[in-house]
């Protein structure tokens, strides 16, 4: 398929600081791409470059097959939604929606048509005559999405649009954005630091760190087969347990523990040496489910965090902290000994030096 957005060797420096490092990215038409990373990783900078609000030091940006590197933001065929909504406070909702169209000299009847359509999709018709100050947070964000919608563009850019909302509203609007994408089929690029948003919304996730994309893959691939230790620890909550381990003679040795390598899903040829062994808390099982597990051991409970639907247990394994999840109905207290195990095919291993997946 023809790429909707193609980014070629994009570099941006603030003086000596490299914010984006020769970044390549292509996004097929209709894809929902999430840029995910902790603050300062360059994800918002990349989005602003695509929007034309920041000038790159080097590299090219193509949108819909057109080189827009030197184009004004308004002429790139994009709509953008900001974290702080960025609604014009002195204008009514309707004026907010039509401001861009008037600037683009769109005929009046077409403006009315587009506003009516966007208002219908987002269910903001009753709000059209109000000022932004008279709207709730969720309504404001809906209007901000509407402002991108009326522009009738192929590419939507979202800059942490839900971060200012409370948890309940965030979950609601998340679903709405996903539905919007399914109905419109536009290309969407969505910046967030919230991994739940990323996992639920994305067709593909780009995990960024230090101005580079670490991994660009589907949510399930990022979750199950993280390419390096950073991605593995970044995705998943609570995050993956890591242990120093040694590979050799067909075995994985975690200090006193050792188990056979045979079930592990190898990603490289490496079969020996120092490694990081990682297992997600939710992949650790106990009780009846233990039957199929080849790797089993006893741990002593240090601390228990009950969360209702599940219970998070802190223990120690091979001298390192070890977290795992148990069913919420399990009665367990500090000092208990629990027999737990995991399926090795769900574990991850990373080279101790390069931290790459093996």
């Amino acid at each position: 398929m023809e790429p909707s957005i193609l980014i070629n060797q994009l570099t941006l420096n603030y003086g000596p600081v490299e914010v984006l490092k020769k970044l390549d990215l292509d996004v097929p038409k209709g894809e929902f791409l999430v840029l995910l990373g902790s603050s300062g990783c360059g994800k918002s900078t990349l989005l602003n470059c695509i929007a034309g609000l920041l000038e790159p030091t080097d590299g090219q940006i193509h949108i819909n097959g057109r080189n827009v590197t030197w184009e004004e933001p308004s002429r790139r065929g994009i709509g953008m939604v900001f974290q702080s909504y960025a609604l014009y406070p002195q204008m009514t909702v309707e004026k907010n929606l039509t401001f861009g169209l008037k600037n683009a000299k769109v005929p009046r009847n077409e403006i009315a048509e587009r506003v009516a359509r966007a208002a219908g999709i987002l269910q903001i018709e009753p709000l059209l005559k109000r000022r932004p100050s008279a709207l709730s947070g969720g309504q404001r964000q809906r209007v901000a999405i509407g402002r991108a919608l009326v522009r009738d563009v192929d590419v939507f850019l979202f800059d942490e649009p839900l971060s200012n909302l409370d948890a309940k509203l965030r979950a609601e609007l998340r679903v709405e954005i996903k539905r919007l994408h399914q109905n419109l089929g536009n290309t969407m690029i969505y910046v967030t630091h919230d991994q739940v948003e990323a996992m639920t919304l994305a067709d593909r996730i780009a995990i960024m760190r230090g101005g580079e994309i670490m991994q660009l893959a589907s949510p399930s691939e990022i979750y199950n087969l993280p390419v390096n230790k950073y991605v593995a620890s970044f995705i998943g909550s609570p995050s993956m347990n890591f242990f120093e381990a040694v590979l050799g003679q067909g075995e994985i040795k975690l200090k006193e523990l050792s188990f056979p390598q045979q079930d592990y899903q190898w990603s490289s040829e490496q079969r020996s040496g120092q490694v990081w062994f990682g297992v997600r808390p939710e992949h650790v099982v106990s009780g009846d489910a233990l039957g199929k597990c080849k790797t089993q051991f006893d741990v002593v409970v240090d601390m228990v965090e009950p969360m209702g639907s599940e219970t998070l247990v802190w223990a120690k394994l091979a001298g390192e902290p070890f977290r795992f999840r148990l069913d919420g109905q399990t009665r367990i207290v500090k000092g208990d000994t629990v027999r737990v195990g995991f399926d090795l095919s769900l574990a991850s291993m990373f080279d101790a030096q390069t931290e790459r997946r093996i």
Partner: protein
């Protein structure tokens, strides 16, 4: 169930309150006393003033000195009172305030939102301008105005006020526009608005408070100006402050203290009215201009 419960009782006559309010009252009296003397003196006739009781309220209330000061008192050869100076000051202040604020607000907007090449150097130069004493620039300014053919005219003085108001006003507007959310500006750019469209449609409607502050600063500053008024204009164009000085300091004939006092209060009335009308906004303006860098 005994002991303290609920709201803590307030002691109005605590030593702390006595000291605070006592000091404030004394200081307020100290500052208000001269104003009192001025107003009282301006309402007395000359015989009463010669008796020397400057704090006594007028026995025979008269408004004659006020009329005299406004319409009949003499400076030099003309005897049409302070009114001429008042209207000169109005003619100087209104265009100076409008032009300086219009230019400075665009300056501040450009500096805050459009990071053009050399913006920092431009801003630094402007700020240094705020620290150079005016006296240093008077002579070059006189020559400049002479060469432009504006020396002595009201237009020349308007230009001088606009130029000298620029550093502090630009700083004021830049700080204000910088404090507005940057995403608004970005959203407007995505919406295809240009430099002027963003300024007029987005920034201006949000900036009423800072414009009020700037107007207050400029009106009071320009109205109270004496130095530029006396240097850059001819006698027929003298602003009110200069004319007041000429009335009060004239050495011929009898010193009419009541007329002088009335003339002084009249001159101070415009800034005074502005201070009273604006109140909090003026304090905010001073803080915005002085504290933020």
């Amino acid at each position: 169930m005994i002991g303290p419960r609920g709201m803590k009782p307030v002691r109005r006559l605590s030593p702390r309150n006595v000291i605070i309010y006592g000091t404030l009252t004394i200081l307020a009296l100290y500052y208000l006393l001269p104003l009192y003397v001025m107003v009282v003196t301006s309402l007395k006739g000359m015989p009463e003033i010669r008796m020397g009781n400057i704090f006594a309220p007028p026995v025979e209330l008269t408004f004659e000195p006020w009329i005299q000061a406004w319409a009949h008192t003499c400076t030099g050869l003309s005897c049409d009172g302070l009114s001429r100076g008042f209207f000169n000051s109005v003619k100087i202040t209104i265009p100076s305030v409008i032009v300086s604020i219009a230019v400075a607000s665009v300056n501040g907007y450009a500096l805050a939102n459009w990071r053009f090449k050399g913006a920092d150097i431009f801003f630094t130069i402007l700020i240094i301008g705020a620290f150079i004493p005016y006296q240093v620039m008077i002579y070059p300014m006189v020559i400049l105005l002479r060469e432009m053919g504006l020396y002595g005219s009201l237009g020349g003085l308007v230009l001088v006020h606009t130029v000298f108001g620029m550093p502090i006003l630009t700083l004021l507007f830049r700080n204000y526009f910088s404090s507005l959310p940057e995403e608004l500006f970005k959203a407007a750019r995505v919406d295809g608005a240009g430099f002027w469209s963003i300024y007029f449609n987005i920034m201006l409607p949000m900036s009423l408070p800072i414009f009020v502050v700037a107007i207050i600063l400029q009106v009071t500053g320009i109205w109270n100006d004496f130095l530029f008024g006396v240097i850059f204009t001819r006698p027929e164009n003298y602003p009110m402050t200069v004319q007041l000085n000429n009335i009060v300091n004239s050495v011929q004939g009898v010193k009419e203290y009541n007329v002088n006092m009335a003339a002084t209060v009249l001159t101070g009335l415009v800034p005074l009215a502005i201070y009273f009308a604006s109140g909090k906004l003026f304090v905010r303006g001073i803080a915005a201009g002085a504290v933020k860098g």
